[in-house]
Symmetry: C2
Subunit: 242 residues, 2 copies
């Protein structure tokens, strides 16, 4: 295991990722239970090497957490409140928790560095939940998918980060239906509708919905999906090639 050297990283600047997946008609977010703290959870996150771009750092963190490369990943907001950690109840928790861990990788100076104020850049990612092999980061005891309506006790302002991430996902879906990784390779209009309904937490009438989606002009209609009840077989769609 490599030793963490604070001199390799930009100080006071971090990344947190809202990683979205879609399964069983539910929108899910990947969250990690922290090794320190009592039932305290976190978004997958990390720091930025002095020698790498912010986007590359986000891709690295995403890969570490999911095992996936080349994933749709987009920054959506900076969380820069001066009190988001510094004056919160978590600051001492972090220090104490990390000190108690007695982890050889982190000396006192490193722990003080980590418990400092951090400005956070929020990224969201859309992943195929079936392809993900979730793995906790440096401070994660475990990592799991949680329904967006059933998130555990999140550290710092991670609740707020999830809210803004969801807002960004809604916007990108409405504008461009960039939901490739959230849907299988081919899918029915009903499945697209179920995705939208999970993301928007509301239901849409099918006729209007289908009309709106087809107007976006990003889907290609394939043959019918035969399931036995032939007269009701729905069309299959896939995303057009770029």
């Amino acid at each position: 295991m490599s030793t963490f050297n604070i001199d390799d990283y930009i100080s006071q600047l971090s990344i947190d990722c809202v990683i979205f997946g879609f399964k069983d008609k539910e929108l899910k977010v990947l969250v990690s239970e922290l090794t320190y703290g009592d039932n305290l959870w976190s978004l997958p996150g990390g720091y930025i090497l002095k020698t790498e771009s912010v986007d590359a750092a986000a891709a690295r963190i995403l890969k570490r957490s999911t095992g996936l490369d080349n994933i749709y990943l987009e920054q959506f907001r900076v969380f820069g409140d001066e009190n988001r950690i510094l004056q919160s109840k978590y600051k001492e928790n972090i220090k104490q928790g990390l000190l108690q861990l007695n982890d050889k990788r982190f000396d006192e100076k490193t722990i003080a560095w980590m418990a400092n104020r951090f400005v956070c850049i929020g990224y969201y990612a859309l992943v195929d939940i079936n392809k993900v092999n979730p793995k906790p980061g440096e401070f994660g005891a475990s990592i799991e998918w949680r329904n967006i309506d059933d998130l555990p006790n999140l550290t710092h302002d991670h609740d707020t980060i999830v809210s803004y991430g969801l807002k960004a996902l809604r916007q990108i879906l409405d504008e461009k239906l960039i939901g490739f990784n959230l849907l299988p390779k081919t899918f029915t209009m009903k499945e697209v509708k179920e995705l939208y309904e999970a993301v928007h937490d509301t239901s849409f009438p099918m006729n209007n919905f289908q009309k709106k989606i087809l107007e976006l002009n990003v889907l290609e209609r394939l043959g019918k999906k035969f399931t036995g009840a032939q007269n009701r077989a729905p069309f299959l769609y896939r995303f057009k090639e770029n």
Copy 2:
């Protein structure tokens, strides 16, 4: 003049502001000529105090540059490429330029800090050009409004920052017509159209345009603007109260 103390600021994190104004049917951006460098210009920018939020830092920089408080100001993107300064031709320029300035406020250590890699948070602001009293920052020899199509030689990746700022302005105008400071208190539909045309760098047919704008439901129609030619007097509008 106060001394600049690098220990007061977050290192490697900066803010640059794309400050938009609208006058004579032209979209304008506030740019500052740097005291160092040869005809090298910059967006108004600065650093973030360890004790202030990122938004407060942006508001402080905006006030310093324009004299204005309570201005519509929104972050739109992080510019985090590892080479945006470090490996560019400007790094040595900055160091040399600052050293040559022989400015008592900045010792060698401070100059090395300033010439380091910085991740930049881009903010855009919409201001009433008639109310602005532009003032250059620490490194500005002068500051002036320039047409967005006629910007001078900008330092670092400030061209890219302006492009993304313009994209964000287009989006916010299309969605919500948040253009209050870019238009006078009351205005005609023709003036709104001129603003849109300057921002989008294209022309719109009046009938469609008026229909689209009125559908946004953010304008209140007042009386007619009488100018003598009574039969052609246009209606005046203003923004609805929130």
